[in-house]
Every structure is written in C-alpha cells, then in structure tokens.
C-alpha cells in the first residue's frame, strides 16, 4: 500500500515537473535544457509522449485523417528513436561520452514547440477552416499564421540545438555538421512520409 502511494506521488511529481519544465523552456531555454539533460525520471518522457498520442487521437477523430492514431504514433516513435540513434551513433565519432538518456530527455522536451504548433493548427483548422481567401481578413490571418509558425520554428531550432549541445557536449560547428548529416537522410525520408500521407509537416 505504501509502495503504491509512493508510485502515485512520484507520477504526480513528474507531471508537475513536466509542466514546470515547459514553462521554463519558454522563459529560460538555455538553463532549463541544461537541467533537463541531467534528468533520469522517465515518467516525464511518458507524459510528453502521452501528449503526442492525445494530439494524434484528436487529429484522427476530428479530421478523419488516413491512418489511425496508433499507427501514426508508432511511426512517430520510430522517427524519434531513429533520430536519437543517428545522433548517438554519429556523435560518438566526435565525443565518446555521449549519454543516451540525456538525448532521450532533451529531444523529448524539444517536442514542445512541435506540439504547440500542431495543437494550434488543429485549433485554427476548426476556427478558420482552409482554404484561405484573398480578402483583407484572409491576408491578415495569413501574415499572423506565418508569423506564429516562424516564431515556433525559431524556438524549435533553438531547443533542437540546445538538446544536441547538452547531450553531446559538442561545439557549434560540430553540431552544425551533425544536423547537416541528419538532414541528408531525414529530408528524403520526410518526403516519403508526405507521399504516404503519414505526416504532411514532419512531426519532429
């Protein structure tokens, strides 16, 4: 009984930590990502993945996309661990001390901008369904939506860079090479996913 209570308290604490970390990634991305790279509590990763699954489930039930949520979530997991495997494997050439756990935690938290963008796009899809028109309001919304998308994209790039910086310990140029190598296979792979209508915009 005491053991069960402890587990439940741990789970609640992890959930609160996820919310706290989300907030701090907005305000202090550098400091927070450094702290996240030292995390060992896998319940936090579970909650982030749960959010991803909730998004897929929502998208499937509201928009009736081609594939069921379980399948899309499975593809997401394959993508995620392929990406981590790539950075771990290639990063080992530059630095032998890379930790897998650190990569898992930092990349899980770098999903926050992705989640915000996809949830907001889902929301806008129902508030102002596409296609957009050439009217003044249509153009104004377009500028707003592109501003929002770019802001989230820049934030994502910062978190992605910090995730690599703190989990691999490499310098700026080496991280730049790593990302370039990653894009060499990930870009065609994303086109393939687009072709099969699994992800139109890469869920990374």
């Amino acid at each position: 009984m005491v053991f069960k209570k402890k587990v439940i308290i741990d789970i609640i604490a992890s959930f609160i930590l996820v919310i706290r970390n989300f907030f701090f990634l907005i305000v202090f991305p550098y400091k927070r990502m450094r702290k996240i790279s030292l995390e060992k509590d896998y319940w936090q990763v579970f909650f982030i993945f749960l959010l991803v699954f909730i998004y897929f489930k929502l998208a499937y039930s509201l928009r009736h996309v081609t594939y069921p949520a379980f399948f899309t979530f499975f593809v997401f997991l394959v993508n995620f661990f392929l990406m981590i495997g790539f950075f771990y494997g290639v990063g080992k050439f530059f630095n032998r001390k890379i930790k897998k756990t650190s990569l898992v935690f930092t990349f899980s938290y770098s999903l926050l901008p992705t989640l915000i963008w996809f949830f907001m796009t889902l929301f806008f899809y129902f508030i102002l369904p596409p296609p957009r028109t050439f009217s003044l309001m249509g153009r104004m919304f377009s500028i707003f939506f592109i501003t929002f998308s770019l802001t989230v994209l820049f934030w994502k790039l910062i978190l992605f860079y910090l995730a690599l910086r703190f989990s691999t310990g490499l310098s700026f140029f080496k991280i730049f090479y790593l990302i370039s190598l990653f894009l060499l296979w990930y870009a065609p792979y994303s086109i393939l996913l687009y072709y099969f209508k699994i992800f139109r915009v890469p869920f990374i």
Partner: protein
Amino acid sequence: MKSYSLKLKKQISEVFIIKPNDLGSQFLTYWFKKSTLFLKQFPFLYLIPLATLIAFLVYLFLGKKIVFITTFLQYGF
C-alpha cells in the same frame, strides 16, 4: 547552511557539464557568444519581431501567394 552549500555545489557542477563553445577563432567565438546571449533568456522578445518582419517581407515579395502557403500549412496536421 549546509543545504545552501550543497545547492551551490550542484549548480556549479551543472554549469560546467560542457566545455564553453569554441568556434576556432577568437573573433568568431566572441561574436557568437554576444549574439546568442539574447536567446538564452526569453528569446520570444526577439523571435516575435523577427518572425513578424520576415512574414511581412514574404507578403511583400509573394503578395497574394502567401495565402497558398498558409492554406498548405493549415492542412499540415
């Protein structure tokens, strides 16, 4: 007192988990550190104006085609 010193010790060891960034030349490293300093705390203060500027420039260059980009992105989920 002991807990404060432990906390400080933990924070210091956290700061030094990675080596400082070195871009090969002093000039580059200096400017890299200067320019990224703003992104370490509440980056949105700079990201939102930058994104707004880019969105306006895209609108100026592409005109009405911006609507197509938005439509494509809105179908993106």
